[in-house]
């Protein structure tokens, strides 16, 4: 199975790769033990393969895979969903084509201020599994605009620290503010004295004139908005431990 994979990975136009010969030699030397050890607990260290991840990038061979990588910008939030490869989405490990894979995301560009290296965390690992990542600057107080995500689909073979980066993709992501929505269609705000918290339906627009005398859509009060950097934390053990569920800029209107 491994040799089949190797053949698929390296088509004749990959002969220019300096890693090809090393890869094949290593693979042939290891094939016997690989087949025996796949799926089992490794009891002895493997000395042949490199100890650090190796990257083999042949995008032309994996166009089909590349087509399935997508980063979608969810409306009003600065998280992204990533698919890599087909029908599989999310970060973290997943089984595909008989092997264990995982998706890694890195390299963010065009952040503010210049030369700031952004990083990503993925949170909300259960919904759906590992699919939501939050991007933020190292400083934690700068907004990333027109950033790009560099996505790698990595095959993590079970027999050693050997990684194939099958394909990479850079996808532009627009970071947007999360709008504060403490008002309804007619501009009724929760901090309005006329807001009825017991009414399941918004109050009718035409008859309402807010304390500010209109100015917002629907004739409600005009809104005074500003940006805040908000951190929302989640605890699933009754408040013992907390982790960041989302953070980013929000437009707060009062």
């Amino acid at each position: 199975m491994f040799l089949e994979k190797l053949t698929r990975l390296h088509s004749p136009n990959d002969m220019r790769s300096p890693f090809r010969n090393l890869l094949i030699v290593v693979a042939l030397a290891m094939t016997a033990c690989v087949d025996q050890q796949r799926g089992n607990v490794l009891t002895a260290p493997i000395t042949s393969p490199p100890t650090s991840p190796r990257k083999f990038e042949y995008p032309e061979d994996f166009i089909a895979e590349t087509e399935h990588i997508s980063v979608e910008q969810a409306a009003g939030a600065n998280y992204a969903f990533i698919k890599c490869p087909p029908q599989i989405h999310g970060l973290g490990p997943f089984p595909y084509d008989g092997d264990q894979w995982y998706t890694r995301v890195g390299v963010y560009k065009n952040v503010l201020p210049p030369n700031t290296q952004n990083r990503a965390v993925y949170v909300n690992a259960q919904d759906p599994p590992g699919s939501r990542i939050t991007l933020y600057s190292e400083e934690g107080n700068h907004k990333a605009t027109a950033a790009s995500i560099h996505t790698s689909c990595i095959e993590d073979l079970s027999w050693g620290p050997f990684e194939f980066i099958l394909t990479t993709a850079e996808t532009p992501v627009d970071f947007r503010r999360v709008p504060n929505v403490s008002h309804d269609d007619c501009g009724f705000m929760v901090n309005d004295p006329l807001y009825d918290p017991y009414s399941p339906e918004p109050s009718p627009c035409p008859s309402y004139q807010g304390p500010s005398g209109g100015g917002s859509p629907g004739g409600g009060p005009s809104l005074s908005c500003h940006e805040e950097y908000i951190v929302i934390e989640l605890s699933d053990d009754g408040g013992m431990t907390w982790y960041v569920y989302w953070e980013g800029y929000a437009e707060v209107c009062e």
Partner: protein, 156 residues
């Protein structure tokens, strides 16, 4: 005579077009409002409050009500409820009006300019909740509660 007739015809056509557009606009507005009706949350006041502070926000995917603002009986103030409502609105704006994960949420701002607006109706709601008959909320416990309705977010 024929000019008058044509003018009348044009007026009729314009009127019909205007009425048609108005009706369509009304439908769109009605649909929009229907989509953005308010979303409930339960304000739950209880003596059994094993958490720090006086109020926490709970979300449950498969249990009704999905959103519960849990408050410490006797100690929680209108300011605690106001802050909890604000936190819930932020969570809904980020994660949607329907709970996608179970858990307890809190929010904080790194902005020094964050204001803590007291909701005009918070004290009334807290008083009304405390005056309700004791009841039980699944997976939360016994206490007194009342349902409030908050604006729907753009993130259903």
């Amino acid at each position: 005579m024929s000019q008058v007739s044509n003018r009348r015809r044009l007026v009729m056509i314009a009127l019909a077009a205007f009425l048609g557009v108005s009706a369509a606009s009304e439908r769109v507005i009605a649909q929009t409002r229907q989509m953005r009706s308010r979303v409930p949350a339960r304000v739950f006041v209880t003596d059994s409050f094993p958490y720090p502070g006086n109020a926490v926000v709970l979300r449950r995917r498969d249990t009704s009500p999905q959103d519960v603002i849990l408050m410490r009986s006797g100690a929680a103030q209108a300011s605690d409820l106001s802050e909890a409502v604000r936190t819930l609105l932020e969570i809904r704006a980020v994660a949607g009006d329907s709970a996608a994960v179970d858990g307890m949420f809190r929010s904080r701002s790194t902005s020094a300019t964050r204001t803590h607006t007291l909701l005009p109706w918070a004290e009334r709601v807290l008083r009304d909740a405390s005056a309700q008959k004791p009841d039980r909320v699944d997976h939360v416990g016994h206490g007194r509660s009342i349902t409030i309705w908050l604006p729907a977010t753009q993130n259903p």
